[in-house]
Symmetry: C2
């Protein structure tokens, strides 16, 4: 059984394009892949979670595959990350998690103890969130046909009664709030990754954000227009996606964006832009100005939002354009990252 096994099956095309690592990195290449391959067949949603009418209620669904390497890193592991990632995708639509599903693809030869440790971590993270893992699936593939363990989590959520959150609801004049410092997750993964020889004490910020979002919605209701967690592609991708979906401009005050010193120095060393490094425990919000201070106060009252701050505002445009005011007062364009800066970050 080798990876080329399907060359003599009924492969449907002679098209010579191939998938690149950057197609999975949350940037421009990924957007192109979705537009080129997915949209012609399936509706490609603007959001990571979908709202589905279910009886008299509305259900929220989100699914996410996790392929992070290494699987254990400072601040978490693939199991806790999978729980937090899916809980946060639900939260970004204004939903609280009701149930999680868990699917493993395991490479033959994975130490059983490691599977046990990841499963214990899934269970502990789900317990801390307060969501049951209700069903699962386990597949095993031949040695060499996967990289140890891939985890796919899917969440069912219930909308907060006051939630009218959508990436498309950003409006000119909205205040841009950030819940905390950026860059920790990507930097922690780099530190833990083989061969890079970095010594740093940065731990991933991986954590659930559903309680923070509930507090924001309690405080701001419909005035909380849009939420995004800056994961793959980092803050740059999140702001660009919000600007594009809302057909607004976003002007961000670069010195106002909190970047921990250890993250900044690791990024300097590696030539990375902290705006493009993945996060797993913070969020960006577009909030109507009349509610911004109230929402900000509600965020700061929670541990995961203690460092929440205003980082900019939504402008008339040009639609989709994100700019940053630098320390010296000039403006730079913050582009959607092209492809992978750090592959397999989640």
């Amino acid at each position: 059984m080798n990876p080329q096994a399907c060359t003599d099956c009924t492969r449907p095309s002679v098209d010579q394009e191939r998938i690149l690592l950057g197609h999975g990195a949350g940037g421009q290449l990924m957007a192109e892949l979705l537009n080129d391959v997915i949209t012609p067949h399936l509706a490609a949603p603007v959001e990571d979670a979908a709202v589905v009418p279910f009886g008299a209620a509305r259900a929220v669904l989100s699914t996410d595959g996790f392929v992070v390497t290494p699987r254990f890193f400072p601040g978490g592991d693939i199991g806790s990350l999978a729980v937090h990632g899916t809980v946060n995708d639900l939260a970004m639509r204004g939903a609280a998690p009701v149930a999680l599903c868990l699917a493993y693809v395991i490479e033959e030869g994975l130490p059983t103890a490691e599977l046990r440790a990841v499963t214990a971590s899934v269970a502990a993270a789900a317990r801390a969130v307060g969501v049951p893992v209700v069903t699962g699936d386990t597949k095993v593939v031949n040695r060499g046909c996967a990289d140890g363990l891939f985890v796919t989590t899917t969440g069912l959520g219930r909308l907060h009664p006051a939630a009218r959150v959508s990436a498309t609801r950003g409006r000119r004049g909205d205040v841009v709030l950030l819940s905390g410092p950026i860059g920790a997750h990507g930097t922690a993964i780099l530190t833990a990754r083989e061969g890079l020889g970095l010594a740093s004490d940065v731990a991933s910020d991986s954590r659930p954000l559903h309680r923070l979002v509930a507090a924001m919605l309690d405080a701001g209701g419909e005035d909380v227009h849009a939420l995004r967690d800056p994961t793959r592609g980092g803050l740059a991708a999140a702001l660009n996606e919000l600007a594009a979906a809302g057909r607004i401009g976003i002007e961000c005050d670069e010195p106002a964006v909190p970047v921990p010193a250890a993250v900044a120095s690791a990024c300097d060393l590696l030539g990375l832009d902290p705006f493009e490094v993945a996060n797993e425990g913070c969020l960006v919000a577009l909030v109507h100005p009349r509610a911004a201070q109230r929402v900000l106060a509600a965020m700061r009252a929670r541990p995961e939002g203690a460092d929440a701050t205003v980082i900019g505002e939504a402008t008339a445009g040009p639609p989709g354009r994100v700019t940053a005011r630098t320390l010296v007062g000039s403006h730079r364009i913050v582009d959607l990252p092209l492809g992978e800066q750090l592959p397999r970050i989640c």
Copy 2:
């Protein structure tokens, strides 16, 4: 980035056991893995789909990873199989599909045309079922870190109003119904698989069963006690799981089980037991005797149940014991298969 990348991370144990291919095959080894690794941390459900209270309604959730090789085979491909597999897992709890989620793990280098073909197949299968794909996720891993493409589908379903279906509801005296011939899917995959040199015209039976189940529940209501689709581990595994969950015996009339001639000869050639070969388009039902003929008639009125037949009955036991009356009138024990007969069948 090599598959051993995580040896210098914080691997949590020196335990020397490792996952075997057979741990994913739906048999005894898999049951042991679930008991040993999953149950200590998460509830290991008896069913492939979970019923979750959701507002005033009950939601049904099921998740399934697909790693079939080859990805294109007579009668289907990994995309249609992923849709049918999840729709059928929902159906086995008596639920109709409301929404699907789709997660890809793609190996760098996969031809884009192949991803496009699989996505088109997902879309076509979902359209035929009548269920929207509402959200998805795409991850790309380095070349050599996956085998082309893995697909995880998760379904949200709504319970049929009359459904009280559970693997645990099998009762002594229940009639065992089978919706159609067995063995086609596994045989088709074998035929398509590189190097086995079989020439046969068997196509997979992959298809959605939710309409068949709705017709059965319309006809039999609560008298439809338990449903199971005999996928990994085949009919042998399905009957053993129903017998164990219901604490009943099952006596099966072997000559009554329809095995197509092409399947029988392929199995003969390869030393396989058709009872253990995977199916993707039939189901086993335990039905109260007073409703059995009515349910059988409803099944036969639908194309996917045209060959439905009685294959046995539930007995007092010993609990969990499955026996088959052979052509010559003797009895043999039908065991839960140990491990992989055909790895990566779905």
